[in-house]
Symmetry: C2
Subunit: 256 residues, 2 copies
DNA sequence: GAAATGGTTTGATGCAGATCAAGTCAACGC
DNA sequence: GCGTTGACTTGATCTGCATCAAACCATTTC
């Protein structure tokens, strides 16, 4: 593992707060691995032996039932996943598949649990990570139960814009069919939702989306800090505690 | 607080593993309170100052957006809620409302965070609790995204049966309109889903539901251990680790 | 360059579930 | 008793989204 990679791992919220000794215990036996596109890293139902740290590429988490499949989250570097299963030493509830060539650090679950036992600061960091992931999922559930598909898309676009702090042009980070499943709709419906947003100044060219009329888009989307983590708090300063920082997608969607 | 109540709190997974000293720190300044039916304990957006432990009665957690409202979970004793917000010292993402007269222990968030810092075993217990809650929500998301409303109802009934290990007669624990919202449908649709299940031997009389043809119901419901926490693991012994134990509802739906 | 491939869009149609509106039933109060 | 209230059901209708099918378009492959 390169020194630069070690720094990137250390800079994760999960490890930011721990001393070098705990860091050594936690990452004992960790190994870096590269995977080609489309690799199944983990199948739902499998026992989970490692905490995964995505350093490069994209990973999709999905679930299946009765021949149906749905995308639950898409991860981008640097993020950890299946922490919850590691903490409980349980089997995976979601499958993980690489969407690109990926570079992933795999940390034995035992090492994580040992480090937690030895260092309450690390255990607290794990708790904070899990709490943030929990709240991300609560937001996700509210999003799907309270909004229709066009509203979800509109808010997704605003969240993208906020995350990449881009101007009026945002780039989609993944294929539209993947995005559709993530947003809980079919590719056809996504396509039609995009056209429905034309009246709010939204135009699409491949992966490039132009938001020409932000006020109109926001009026339709009605972003809400209690659902969309990017949305502005009504008042004042952002509390340090809300370093929870992430919605159900991309970066830091702590998983399982 | 009565001695019996202390024992009930101690028997929570969150506290089961900790020594008497940590328990004393954690519950310092805790006070027991009674609330009438329909009391708003917490409004989404409010800062969360206490960890709540429901000792008696039922509490509904719900979320709102744009004049729409949805029930996210229903808690039954003994369970804790809003642990995630307490850990992060953040504002609530869900509102909490009593459905009955309730008896609730309120533990200052500071005390919880202090106890975590002092005792890594307690911090690990918090992590396990949050991890279990996280996985409950993952199951919930899979349930809503992968199943239609009749399938969700069928699985709900099977879960009820398993939780109360009742025979072929189960009792609904709450009003049908609340159940409908929890399952992500309207009361009218719930009513029609119940009639749709008649062909699987399901009959309803008020809160009493009779499951006269379990095999048929299961064939429609297709319960899955990766969604429904009650569902039988395919093989052998249930791992201790899966003491995660709960789906998104009733008991132990660790919240926020 | 032609053909094949795979993602995306567009159109026509169908259906699950929401909405709107009565109607039923039980509990409760005066 | 009788009327009120509120939960639940039933029926008629509407609509958002899925499904099915074809067309489109960019890449890749030979």
């Amino acid at each position: 593992m390169r020194a630069a990679d070690i720094d990137r791992v250390k800079s994760l919220p999960l490890f930011a707060d721990v001393g070098p000794d705990t860091f050594r215990v936690a990452t004992a036996g960790a190994h870096l691995q590269r995977f080609p596109t489309g690799t199944m890293l983990l199948l739902e139902g499998d026992p989970v032996d490692f905490l995964y740290v995505l350093l490069d590429g994209q990973v999709e988490l999905h679930g299946t039932w009765n021949d149906r499949e749905t995308v639950l989250a898409i991860l981008r570097p640097v993020s950890t996943f299946i922490l919850a299963a590691v903490v409980l030493d349980a089997t995976a509830l979601m499958s993980a598949r690489t969407l690109d060539r990926c570079e992933i650090l795999m940390i034995p679950g035992d090492a994580i649990r040992t480090a937690m036992r030895l260092d309450s600061r690390f255990a607290m960091a794990v708790s904070r990570d899990l709490a943030g992931g929990y709240r991300g999922l609560v937001r996700n559930v509210k999003n799907t139960k309270l909004r229709n598909s066009t509203e979800r898309l509109a808010n997704y676009l605003l969240a993208l814009r906020a995350a990449d702090n881009s101007g009026s042009v945002v780039r989609l980070h993944h294929e539209k069919r993947v995005l559709a499943s993530l947003l809980g709709m079919t590719p056809e419906s996504l396509s039609r939702s995009f056209s429905a947003l034309q009246k709010c100044g939204v135009t699409v060219q491949g992966a490039v989306v132009t938001l020409a009329n932000l006020p109109a888009l926001e009026q339709l989307a009605k972003p809400d800090p209690l659902i969309d983590n990017h949305a502005p708090r009504n008042g004042d300063i952002v509390a340090d505690a809300d370093a929870e920082v992430w919605s159900s997608e991309w970066n830091r969607s702590e998983s399982q």
